[in-house]
């Protein structure tokens, strides 16, 4: 997030796109309600009539996969009607004119048939966003799990810069992270092309900094997960070490994933429980839960927060950092970390944005990075005064919308979009073991529009079969008027209804995130 969670409560306008905030970030959603109580407006774009839409002033029932068209059309309207913040554009950004030219044809009338959002609704979204003083964008996987992920986010950045909604309180672009520490693990370079702190290995400063701590080392650019299973299949990847991830359920095209894992010569899985993925492992390393270890989590607003051990690790499990430490030692490295605080000391040295964040400083309240030194209070809002880019200017980008990725067909006429429910988390490795959560959502389901259900003769709670070009699964029908027609929704938590057996291998060309939100399927009553 460029801004903080608390600031949501003071916004004038909140534009939520691709985020079921009340269900997936209920406490963030309370800030939305707080803002609404103070008179804020809420605009929501989502293919499902999520609970937020009950409170929204504007709603766009957007077709999955077309966010970019809608955002570009909003930009078009703002420029066409002269609602842009020219001062901000002139003083703080580059490449405005090129971007402007790129959206010249993106009229709301152009976007309407693509997005299924009425042109007038798009105009309303654009005007309200541009003319609100403090306007925040909130988004999650509804924007990112598409082939247009990177371009859509760049377009949202265009939208925010165009209207000067960056670098001030209660503005900005705010991805709500789906996991407690996904920000932290990204910061610490669980990415194939960075070292910790988003430092490219090829930059000279990076080498200089890290070789001081690590000695001589080499660092090749890695692969993203979605590429790895192909490499296994091709026989190029021989071993895999999976920590806290369950790709058999969470990765697209389950049959392909399983095929690759079976073929893989050597697999290590490190997790709390024996997951569906661990079934294919040669070695399973039992890891400890959050209750059994010390360390930090970095949350969605870049706040580094301390966690403390409450109980000793159960059985022979160990915290991840101890497992890694021992592994490094057995591989002959000269390391001996005694505590997570000692690891943080090294992070302070190597990652400039974390330089001032020590365990000592975050005993009570976490600090938001960037925090360059030990007296720095942290940075609640990014890009104040200047952008965190070389030269300090924001860069407008060109993000053309084209029909790509999965398309419906006569054989597969429905769009399936996936997501989560409040009471389950990811592949359910933890939450499905808890009775109270299990009771709320014991099994998978297929949300389908009343009219579609009627046409297909599907009744409430009936088992239906959902089939894509990759595979076929069954789940129980949940009939509703809160989803677009010809669109179905399925949660991906349930191994008995493994949605990712259906999803495909279309990837965002830049960051390779799979297009989990759009799969062409057909649906029929299970015989």
């Amino acid at each position: 997030m460029t801004n903080t969670i608390e600031e949501i409560g003071d916004a004038d306008l909140i534009f939520v796109i691709g985020s079921n905030t009340t269900e997936q970030h209920p406490l963030v959603a309370t800030r939305i309600f707080e803002a609404l109580d103070k008179g804020a407006k809420l605009y929501v774009a989502d293919p499902r009539r999520i609970r937020l839409t009950d409170f929204a002033h504007g709603y766009a029932p957007i077709e999955p996969g077309t966010n970019l068209a809608m955002i570009n059309a909003m930009i078009h309207v703002i420029i066409e009607e002269g609602l842009q913040d020219q001062k901000f554009i002139d003083e703080r950004t580059n490449s405005y004119d090129i971007m402007k030219a790129s959206v010249a044809d993106c009229t709301p009338e152009w976007a309407e048939p693509i997005t299924k959002v009425p042109a007038e609704t798009i105009r309303d979204f654009a005007r309200t966003y541009a003319t609100s003083d403090k306007a925040m964008i909130l988004y999650t996987m509804g924007v990112t799990q598409h082939v247009t992920a990177t371009r859509s986010i760049c377009a949202l950045a265009n939208l925010a810069m165009l209207t000067g909604h960056v670098g001030r309180p209660s503005t900005g672009i705010n991805p709500l992270r789906g996991q407690n520490n996904v920000q932290g693990s990204g910061d610490m370079a669980t990415l194939p092309d960075y070292l910790p702190g988003y430092q490219r290995p090829e930059w000279p400063t990076t080498w200089e900094r890290f070789s001081k701590a690590w000695g001589d080392f080499s660092c090749l650019r890695g692969k993203v997960m979605s590429e790895m299973f192909d490499l296994i299949d091709e026989g190029k990847m021989k071993a895999m070490y999976i920590v806290g991830e369950n790709p058999v359920l969470s990765d697209p095209d389950q049959n392909h994933t399983i095929h690759a894992l079976k073929k893989l010569p050597f697999l290590v899985v490190q997790d709390l429980f024996l997951t569906e993925t661990a079934e294919y492992a040669d070695i399973v390393l039992p890891a400890s839960s959050w209750l059994e270890k010390d360390g930090t989590y970095t949350n969605t607003e870049r706040r580094v927060q301390l966690i403390r051990k409450v109980i000793e690790p159960v059985g022979n499990s160990k915290p991840d950092w101890i497992i890694l430490n021992e592994l490094m030692q057995r591989m002959g490295l000269d390391v001996d970390y005694k505590s997570t605080s000692e690891i943080m000391d090294e992070i302070n040295l190597l990652v400039p944005t974390y330089a001032g964040i020590t365990h000592e400083r975050i005993q009570e309240v976490g600090i938001q990075w960037p925090c360059p030194d030990k007296n720095h209070p942290g940075t609640p809002i990014l890009h104040v005064g200047q952008f965190r880019r070389q030269g300090g200017k924001g860069l407008f980008t060109i993000n053309n919308f084209e029909r790509e990725g999965e398309r419906t067909s006569e054989e597969f006429p429905f769009i399936m979009t996936t997501g989560r429910v409040t009471h389950q988390y990811h592949t359910g490795t933890m939450t499905r073991k808890v009775w109270t959560l299990h009771r709320e959502y014991p099994h998978g389901f297929v949300e389908i529009n009343v009219k579609d259900a009627e046409a297909l003769g599907i009744k409430e709670h009936q088992m239906v079969r959902v089939t894509s070009a990759r595979g076929s699964i069954t789940a129980m029908a949940a009939i509703t008027d809160r989803i677009n027609e010809k669109t179905i929704f399925m949660p991906f938590h349930f191994a008995e209804s493994p949605v990712n057996r259906l999803t495909g291998q279309h990837l965002d060309p830049l960051i390779k995130i799979p297009e989990l939100k759009v799969t062409a399927v057909r649906i029929e009553v299970e015989k």
């Binding site: 309370t30 309600f33 009950d54 009775w435």
Partner: protein, 653 residues
């Protein structure tokens, strides 16, 4: 409560007293800062006086978030069960409890210890000493003075301390309180008329009352709740409930922090297939599926569950138990992440009742009733531990309904058996428990039989057990069909499919004593004749003088003479004096209503239709809260109700 004994304690001596007590019994004191205050052992944690209230009510010391009920172990010789209700921390002195929470304890004592005694609660409660320290300051959401439970403690405490000028006025309310006084007798100066110097008990109590008034006056929040129940009867369907329901995310925080929330769920925790424990966890009516029955039927939706909590706290508990269900602690409002506030809701109720009242809902004008009976239960090891029985015979009544015969492993249990209930809780070890109606009569027997369909998780497994397998039995529970009042009347038994089973318990008594009754009509309905249970018995009964048996089937065949269609069609042709007829109807709530409507049209009185309502019962004894409808526990107040009583329940069953 009898007049409390009064003592004075110098303020500076307090820590000495706590230290003295702690030598023999661990003393728990408020510790922490800000709003994060817990009761913790004084040996390890510093005591604070800077707190308005404890973060969680003291209830958690007597009704723990998780408690073991019993363990079971299976070996070649059978199954052994062991009651675990006494597994807990032992004696504890809880110091610094506020009036809203002592009131909560007053209520939970009444709730758990009366009717069927909750063995777990009793064993913990016995070991707990409660020392209340009266509040001198209110928090922003405190409203105990409005509900009338505070500001000073009136019940639930053993000792109550009020800080006057440099000393505490100490009131000892119980024998346990006296035990505490005696343990530190040198610090407590008795106040009595005999020893009165400058201060008499009257003066001290007047000082206390003056202080109480002053504190009460300082409350930022004051509400007049005199007409709240009437107002609630007129706002049951008000629009604002939908707004509240829309805001609720079902996090269950409100019920977790409530001093009067008593619901729990029972859960099986198995070590392996032969060893396990049944435990209970706090549960919440604010979970969407708290009330879900087998086969997806859920009598409450988001709106009715949100509304239910408020009605339960402000109305239903008081109607049934005579205690305030809300002690005014304000915690539910403090913790709600979406700013749902019981205080705002009270305001909405009052505003709506004034500006936009509905005609009072019939289910909200039930007269106040506090009928609590102490009840007997035929188990050896306390309320929640079943007795082991063996399946001796299994018969297939219909293609999907089985009749199983079971025998207690301990024959004495059969010998002492009294049929004073309507259903049993049957345990499948390691899988769970399911309530099943009693179809047998009171005649002495060394065996029980039950009829059931495989519709739920547990009944599916029970369905597949074999002769010789072990089950657990608890019961009988529930208000049964009355027998004596039926004498001299015509009786119409109407049972649909497996629902003939609950009627059989009374039917077998009636056919054995036909001389005591008028005409007896039995009406069995099902889709096909194959799906009718007790076929042979029905045939036998139909041959008795004064008994008629009718069938109403969807697809009749030549197996039996039957009407094609509903039971309702047959009613007008029964040659009965309806004013002297009682109908016993057992079916789904929807069918019960349809049949009853026709019966009423024929001239039967709503009090002469008897029916059973089987909702999601978990404990069977009015404790777990799952089957509560309005102020009624289906398992204790029902499941047998007259039609009149049934229609006076909120439509949430």
């Amino acid at each position: 409560m009898k007049t409390p004994l009064l003592y004075q304690l110098e303020k500076s001596k307090l820590d000495l007293v706590l230290g003295r007590w702690n030598q023999t019994i661990p003393v728990y004191v408020p510790s922490g800062k800000g709003k994060d205050i817990s009761l913790l052992p004084m040996v390890d944690f510093p005591r604070t006086e800077a707190y308005i209230n404890l973060t969680l009510p003291v209830k958690e010391m007597m009704f723990e978030q998780k408690e073991a009920l019993f363990r079971w172990d299976r070996d070649a010789g059978g199954v052994k069960v062991e009651n675990l209700s006494n597994q807990h921390a032992g004696e504890r002195i809880l110091y610094g409890v506020r009036a809203c929470d002592t009131y909560g304890v007053g209520y939970t004592d009444h709730f758990y210890l009366k009717e069927f005694e909750d063995t777990n609660y009793a064993s913990r409660r016995d070991k707990v000493f409660i020392v209340a320290v009266n509040c001198l300051k209110a928090g922003p959401h405190c409203f105990c003075t409005s509900v009338g439970t505070g500001v000073f403690s009136t019940t639930g405490h053993d000792l109550a301390l009020t800080e006057l000028e440099g000393f505490y006025l100490v009131e000892s309310a119980t024998a346990k309180g006296q035990q505490l006084i005696e343990a530190a007798a040198d610090f407590f100066v008795p106040v009595s008329d005999e020893f009165a110097g400058d201060v008499s008990p009257g003066t001290l109590l007047a000082m206390k009352e003056q202080l109480r008034q002053k504190v009460a006056d300082s409350f930022p929040l004051k509400m007049d709740l005199t007409n709240l129940h009437e107002d609630m009867a007129r706002t049951f369907n008000a629009d604002f409930w939908l707004d509240e329901a829309n805001a609720c995310i079902g996090c269950t925080g409100c019920t977790n922090v409530c001093p009067t929330c008593t619901c729990f769920n029972v859960v099986e925790e198995n070590r392996d297939k032969d060893h396990g424990m049944r435990v209970r966890y706090w549960d919440s009516c604010q979970s969407d599926h708290f009330t879900r029955n087998a086969e997806f039927h859920n009598p409450r939706n988001a709106l009715s569950r949100t509304r239910y909590r408020v009605y339960d706290k402000l109305k239903y508990i008081e109607e049934r138990f005579g205690y305030k269900g809300c002690s005014g602690c304000g915690r539910c409002t403090d913790v709600c992440p979406t700013y749902i506030s019981i205080i705002d809701i009270i305001h909405s109720i009052q505003k709506e009742a004034k500006e936009n009242p509905e005609p009072p809902a019939i289910h909200q004008i039930t007269a106040m009733r506090h009928e609590i009976f102490d009840r007997e239960i035929n188990v050896r090891n306390g309320l929640f531990t079943p007795d082991v029985a063996t399946i001796t015979k299994i018969e297939l009544e219909t293609p999907e309904i089985k009749r199983i015969y079971v025998k207690y492993d301990d024959p004495a249990l059969h010998k002492n058996f009294k049929l004073n209930g309507q259903f049993f809780q049957i345990t499948v070890f390691g899988e769970g428990e399911v309530p099943i109606s009693i179809p047998f009569g009171p005649e002495e027997s060394d065996e029980f039989d039950f009829c059931f369909k495989n519709v739920g998780t547990v009944s599916n497994i029970l369905y597949n057990l074999k002769v010789g397998d072990k089950v657990g039995l608890r019961g009988p529970y529930g208000r049964p069909f009355p027998y004596e009042p039926l004498k001299g009347r015509n009786l119409v038994f109407i049972g649909s499919g497996v629902a003939m089973a609950p009627l059989r318990t009374i039917l077998v008594q009636v056919v054995d004593n036909l001389q005591d009754f008028g005409k007896v009509v039995i009406m069995a309905s099902a889709l096909q004749y194959d799906k009718v249970i007790y076929k042979d018995e029905l045939k036998l009964w139909s041959e008795l003088e004064g008994v008629e048996v009718h069938y109403a089937l969807k697809d009749p065949t030549d197996q039996v003479k039957a009407h094609q269609g509903y039971i309702n069609d047959l009613l007008p042709d029964l040659d009965l004096d309806w004013s002297n007829t009682t109908a016993l109807v057992c079916a789904s709530p929807k069918r019960i209503k349809e049949v009853s409507k026709d019966l009423l049209a024929l001239g039967i009185k709503p009090t002469d239709i008897l029916t059973t309502l089987e909702t999601h019962m978990r404990c069977g004894a009015g404790k777990c809260g799952h089957c509560k409808v309005g102020s009624h526990y289906m398992c204790v107040d029902g499941p047998v109700f007259t039609y009149e009583e049934m229609m006076a329940l909120p439509p949430e069953y």
